[in-house]
Structure formats: C-alpha cells, structure tokens
C-alpha cells in the first residue's frame, strides 16, 4: 500500500498509518469530547459519523477493498482450480485449444490493460494532489482503455462463434479431441467472460468516480473512493495478466494453426 503521508495531513495530529497512532488520536478525541457536539473539533463534511478521523475512514475503506479482493481471488481461484485439473488431465487438447486463440489480440489487450493501470494510478495521484483536471483526464483515459479492451474482446468472441468454437450444440465436433477442446473453451469463456463482467463493473465504478471528480468532490483530504476503485481496477488487470499466459501462451509455440 502506498503511503502518501504529506498529502494526507487532514488532522492536526498528522497522518500515521499504523494502529497505535490511530488509537492515540482516538483517545485525544475522546478526551476533548466537550469541544463540540459531536466530539470533532475539525469536522470534514466527508467524515462519516461513526469514524473518529479521516485517516481512520480511509484506512477502513482501503482495508475493506483489500478484503474484498481476497474474496475475488478465491472466486477466480475456483476457476483456476478447474483449469489446472483439466489441463493436467488433457494436456494435448489444451495445446490444441490454445492454438485457436488469437495471441496478437490477447497481447494487444494485455498492453491496453497495463496502460490503463498506469492511467488509474495517475488519477489517484491527481486526487491526492487535488488536481481536478488531472483526475478527469486520467479517469477518461482509463475508461477509454477499458472500453478498447472490451471491444477487442468482442471481436475475439465473434471469431469464436464464426469458427464454431463456442461449447454447446454448435461446437465443431470434427476437431481432434473435440470433447476435451470443448472443455477448454468452456473454461476459456467462463474465465474471460467473468473477467469481462468485472471490467464492465469497473467501468461503472469509473463512471461514478468521474462524475464525483467532475463535481470537485476529491482533494488531498478526501480521495478514498478514487483510491479503492483504483485497487479494484488493478486487481481486474492482474487477473488478466494471469489469464493471458495460461489461456493464450502455454503451448502456443507448437503453433498448429493460429487465429
């Protein structure tokens, strides 16, 4: 977790990331509870009533997103488990299946997503430095790159439909090891499909954040939503970084018939 201490000087007590300083802060708040009706001398309008300080709020939200990402890892983990087992059972079918995937489109999408992670990080940085235009620019860039990814994915899927590689009654059963290849494509569509769904959710998040940034909601004292949305976005990128080699690259060097 990055710790931008100087840009987070929201309370008079400074910004310590660890639990101990948080407690000290909380204690000092408690002892000075008589100062105002709510026990907060410097009340930021973005501070929710059940938190003592902006730092506590940011740390809670960030930890919440990390915990959520752990659940996402377990969620995708189930599919990786399925992938590992069947790859182990049917290695030849896996090579055949992976040679039907378009490595150049996959590589293009990998590059697109890596770039979108960079623009996302720049958007978070812009929020931390209270730059409204920077936030808007980088959020739009992030969304544009995310959309490029989905469009490329759409064309990839369309190709698979044309080539009868979508599992089900229309699957091309004349392929060698057709049954096992169908299993490969079941996993391919499940994993990339759920990943694409996460991308769409991410775009929705970015849209919300963009509207809030447009209204000048974020500054060095309050940028929690940008930060946690960024964490989510990076996670979705990283899932793709695992999907790309596992689905497209492993075995592709045997190169039977690309595309």
């Amino acid at each position: 977790m990055p710790n931008f201490t100087n840009s987070r000087a929201s309370t008079s007590l400074g910004a310590g990331g660890d639990l101990e300083s948080q407690k000290t802060m909380a204690a000092s708040h408690a002892s000075s509870a008589g100062l105002s009706a709510h026990g907060h001398a410097d009340h930021n309008p973005n501070l929710q009533h059940h938190f003592y300080s902006m730092d506590q709020q940011l740390e809670a939200s960030t930890l919440g997103m990390w915990v959520f990402l752990v659940t996402e890892i377990m969620f995708f983990g189930g599919m990786f488990m399925v992938y590992i087992l069947y790859r182990h059972l049917y290695p030849e079918a896996w090579v055949l299946g992976s040679n039907h995937l378009n490595v150049s489109l996959g590589a293009l999408n990998t590059g697109v997503l890596i770039c979108s992670s960079l623009t996302m990080v720049l958007a978070v940085r812009a929020a931390q430095t209270s730059s409204r235009s920077g936030q808007i620019l980088h959020l739009i860039l992030t969304m544009a790159l995310g959309s490029v990814f989905l469009v490329v994915k759409y064309f990839e899927y369309a190709q698979k439909f044309e080539h009868h590689l979508v599992p089900g009654p229309h699957f091309d059963m004349s392929l060698p090891q057709a049954n096992q290849q169908q299993l490969f494509f079941s996993i391919y569509f499940m994993m990339t499909g759920i990943h694409a769904l996460h991308m769409i959710v991410g775009l929705g998040l970015m849209m919300t954040i963009l509207v809030m940034a447009w209204r000048g909601k974020f500054s060095a004292t309050y940028y929690t939503p940008v930060e946690v949305s960024g964490l989510y976005w990076h996670f979705v990128d990283i899932v793709w970084i695992f999907l790309f080699p596992l689905l497209y690259l492993l075995g592709a060097h045997l190169g039977a018939h690309g595309g």
């Binding site: 639990l19 948080q22 407690k23 909380a26 204690a27 708040h29 408690a30 509870a33 009706a37 709510h38 026990g39 929710q48 009533h49 059940h50 938190f51 003592y52 506590q56 740390e59 809670a60 939200s61 930890l63 919440g64 915990v67 959520f68 752990v70 659940t71 996402e72 377990m74 969620f75 995708f76 983990g77 189930g78 599919m79 488990m81 399925v82 087992l85 069947y86 059972l89 049917y90 599992p167 089900g168 009654p169 049954n179 096992q180 169908q182 299993l183 079941s186 996993i187 569509f189 499940m190």
Partner: protein, 539 residues
C-alpha cells in the same frame, strides 16, 4: 450535527419511526432486527419441510408423499435451513447487533454495505423461493453433479442463482466484521481485551470471505453447465463430477464452522456471565477459534472417503479432521473449568448453556467416528451422519443462538420476557432434540440410509420415537415465539444490565441509543473482569 444532542437519549427503536426509516436504516442494530425477522421466517419454513420429512417416516411404507416429493422436501429443508437460517443466524443478528457495541464502536465500518447485505439476502431468498414454487429442487442441498447439472429436471438453475446471490450477503457481512474489528476498536480495546464473542465472529468472518466465493463460483459453474451448455462436470464431455464435490466441500465444510464458531462465541459470553467468573484460559479460547477456522479449510476431503479419493488423501484428511477435535475440546474444557467453582445461577441462559455443552459434546465426538475411514465406509450416507450433523448444527449452533437470543433479548428490545417460559422452552428443546436425533444414531448404525422415503418395518419404533421427539422440539421452538412477542407488548422494562454481566454492551441503556454510546468509551480493563464485583460481595 446539532440534532445529535436531542437524539442522544432516544433508543434506536424510537428514532425515527416509520417503515421507510427501517428499510433505509444504516444502523447496525436495526439491520440486525431486520435479519432477525427474516431468518425467523425461514426457520419456520425450513421447520415445515422437516415436519413433512418426519411425518413421512412415521410409517415404513412411503405412503404420504411420492418419492419425488420427498426428495424435494429434504432438499429444501437443507437449502433453507443452511443458507437462509443457520449461516446468517448468529453473525447477522447477534453479531450485527453486538459486535460494534462490544468493541466500543458507533457502528460497523460500512453501514451502507451492511444494509446492502440484508437486501442481497432478501433477493437471494426471493429467487430461491421462486425455485421452490416453480418445480422445487430435488438434488439434495449439496447439488451433486452430474445429477444437478445434467439429469435433474427441477429448478436447479434458479436455486443455484439464489444461493449464489445469498453468498454475497454472507461475504459482505464477513468483510464488514473484519474491517470493523481491525479499524474501529475503541481506545484501550486491545485485541486481547476483546470479548471472545468478537474473536469468534472474527474467525467466522475469515471463513466467510475465504470460503463463500468458492461455493459461489461452484454453483455458477453448475448454472453455466445447465443454462449455457458449458461443460465442467459432465462426464460425457470428459468433465469430472468429483471435481464438483471438491469445490463444493471446500466451502461447505468450512461452512459448518460458519455455523458453529459464532455459537461457540455466544457460549463463551454466556458461560462467563452465568458463572460470574472470568473465562478460564482466555487466550486458548480465542486462538482455538482461529485454529478451527484454519483447520476447517483442510478437512473437506472427509466428505469424499467413498468418492474415489485415493486412500493416501483420505488418510491425510482423516488425521486433520481428528485434529479439529483439539481446539473444540479446548473450548469445551475451558467452559467447564469456567463454571467450576463459579457462582452459577439458574437463569434462562444457563439452561441453554448446559444444553449446548451436552449436545455439542455428543455431536463433536461422533464426528470422530465419521473421521475414521474404516468406520465411515459403514456409516457414510446413513442416518448416523444425519444425527451427527444435527447434533452440531441444531444441538450446537441453534442451541447457542437461542441462548444468545435469551441473553441479549433485554438489551435488543428493552423488555424482559417470562423466565419460566424460557426455562420450559430450553428443557423441551433439549429433551425433544435428544428424542429426535439420538434414535437416528442407532438407525444409522443399523444401516438405514439417508434420503429414502421408505424403510424396512423393523426400524419403525425408532422412527416413531424420532418423529415424536420432533413434535416436542417444535413445541420447544414455538414457545419463544409467544413469550418473546408477549414481552414486546407487556414485558417489564429491562434495566441496562439485567444479568449483572460484564462487557461494553451492558454499560449502555437497554435498548441502546442510535449511536450506541453517549460518550466515546475508553476501555481500561480486561474482558470478563468479574473479580472486583465478587470481592465486594465477600466484603
């Protein structure tokens, strides 16, 4: 926020009124009450399915329901009781209500997500009920493939989506608890001053966030196989149906600990309170919760002893399963040691405490029988298994849930209920439960398989005893519905601390104000600090 000063003395129940204020509330206490109402409804629904099962088994001939109908009854009993009652029971009601107060916080870290989790629960429940009314579900609550993915012509897809959706409510509750425990503790509330209930909820939350996503993806794969023709578990396409069992039990065994760990947390609170004594070996009880949560993830293979799993894998799973007995025994022995030479009084929570200890011990020890591979080959899928997990889930988890509800009811509602009614209920539940499920150990040992609607006539006596016991059990569970409702209308006002118990929740009024504490609490003593009070008594 100048209105705070005037709101301070109002309880969370009074401020403000109206249905909308409840349905849009962000107050963890109100959300707990919303959960309480919903899970009670599902408890009743699941109970009715159970009644259907027990009525059929009164006679050896399968004459009351068709075998198809019977399959649906036991499936829906399992699905409703596990996903819609047991898993949310203690965490979403007692945990939601008490966890923030116990650690001195004004609310959970994410109040809106907390409310969202209830709506997700309601949505998942609605979808599942749609499946119930639209052809039902006959796969067993375990959704085993390939029956569920290829063969069954009931509403498997709808039910799978219902379970998938409900899983997120559980994940969000767990997430909220973990962040709250890490980031929201009051000054002075160190990790080792936390009540053991909070430790247990924390361990449960870890299981929820690590296990639930796996069952979510598993039922989603079943859904995709049925609805989208993707093949994962279909053997005709080279898929492995046993893979489903691995993925399913990777969650569903830990899910047992989602049900029992919070119950153990409740027990630690109740034992200390009814004995007026510090919990014996606080650290051991706290860490045994974490140990159970961790070990719980390493034992799923004991559900696959007879599912083509290799004997070596079976051996490892068998040994680790037996290891779970160690932290469980640590807890049981420590509770006993807490009561030993304590000032135990016979109040209604005491009855549930003692009932839990007896039933949980039997449930836990019979688990060791089943963990033994040789014995399990004889007992697997028999009524012995049914009796074993009911001793844990009903005798353990629900007994603790009822005990907790009785213990904290005055805090939650501000009303006292009928003590004699509560004692009668606890005794009826204990007797009825044993009469229902103990004969099933014998039936299972004699070879009666689970999930059949007919059986040889020589097993009728024990089955009649079991159905008789179920009727007593039903009366035991219905009684609280009456005296709790009565207490809301006519009950005496509850003082802040009716049991003379320790803990931050007993320092605030009953029912607590909206933001729990009028003044931000500072903690400067360990949990269960009963000693000074007793010294005053002596002096």
């Amino acid at each position: 926020m100048s209105t705070v000063a005037t709101q301070e003395r109002q309880s969370y129940l009074d401020a403000p009124y109206g249905l909308a204020s409840w349905l849009l509330t962000k107050d963890h206490k109100r959300i707990a009450m919303l959960y309480l109402i919903s899970i009670t409804l599902f408890f009743a629904v699941g109970g009715m399915f159970a009644a259907g099962i027990r009525m059929e088994l009164l006679t050896p001939q399968g004459d009351l329901w068709t075998s198809d109908m019977y399959n649906k009854l036991f499936t829906l009993h399992g699905v409703v009781m596990i996903f819609f009652f047991l898993i949310p029971s203690i965490p979403a009601t007692l945990g939601n209500f008490l966890l923030p107060i116990m650690i001195g916080a004004k609310d959970l870290a994410f109040p809106r997500i907390n409310l969202l989790s209830w709506y997700i629960y309601v949505l998942g429940a609605t979808i599942t009920l749609a499946a119930v009314f639209n052809g039902g579900l006959d796969t067993g609550w375990t959704f085993y493939t390939p029956y569920s993915s290829v063969a069954s012509n009931t509403s498997v897809s709808t039910a799978a989506i219902g379970v998938f959706v409900t899983g997120f409510s559980s994940i969000l509750t767990g997430l909220n608890f973990i962040v709250t425990v890490h980031r929201m503790r009051a000054p002075g509330m160190t990790w080792f001053r936390m009540p053991l209930f909070v430790w247990a909820q924390y361990a449960t939350s870890l299981v929820m966030i690590l296990g639930t996503p796996v069952v979510a993806i598993t039922v989603l794969l079943v859904f995709a196989e049925r609805a989208l023709h993707l093949g994962f578990f279909d053997p005709t396409r080279g898929g492995d149906p046993v893979l489903f069992q691995h993925l399913f039990w990777f969650y569903s065994h830990p899910a047992v600990y989602i049900m029992i760990l919070p119950g153990m947390g409740v027990m630690s609170e109740l034992v200390a309170a009814v004995s007026r004594k510090q919990v014996f070996g606080y650290g051991f009880v706290a860490f045994s919760s974490l140990a159970i949560a961790i070990l719980g993830f390493l034992v799923w293979g004991h559900h696959l002893f007879v599912s083509s799993q290799s004997i070596y894998a079976g051996l490892v799973f068998s040994i680790i399963t037996m290891l779970v007995a160690v932290p469980s025994a640590v807890k049981t022995f420590n509770w006993t040691a807490t009561m030993f030479k304590g000032s135990v009084t016979w109040e209604s929570p005491t009855f549930w405490v003692i009932g839990f200890m007896g039933l949980f011990t039997i449930g836990g020890l019979t688990g060791l029988f089943l963990a033994t591979m040789g014995l399990d080959i004889h007992l697997t899928d028999s009524y012995f298994v049914v009796a074993h997990f009911h001793y844990i889930m009903v005798g353990g988890a629900i007994m603790a849930y009822m005990g907790g509800l009785h213990f904290w009811w005055p805090k939650m509602t501000g009303k006292m209920y009928s003590e004699s009614g509560a004692k009668a209920s606890a005794i009826l539940v204990f007797l009825g439960f044993n009469l229902t499920f103990f004969p099933q150990f014998i039936l299972g040992y004699m070879g009666m398989p689970r999930r059949y609607h007919a059986y040889p006539p020589e097993w009728q006596v024990l089955n009649v005893a079991s159905t008789l016991g179920a009727s007593v059990l039903a009366v035991g569970y219905l009684l609280p519905a009456f005296y709790f409702t009565w207490s809301l209308v006519k009950g005496a006002a509850a003082p802040a601390n009716p049991w003379g118990a320790k803990g931050l929740e007993w320092t605030v009024p009953s029912p607590p104000p909206t933001f729990n504490f009028d003044e931000d609490p500072i903690v400067n003593e360990p949990a269960y600090n009963y000693k000074p009070a007793r010294e005053v008594h002596v002096a």
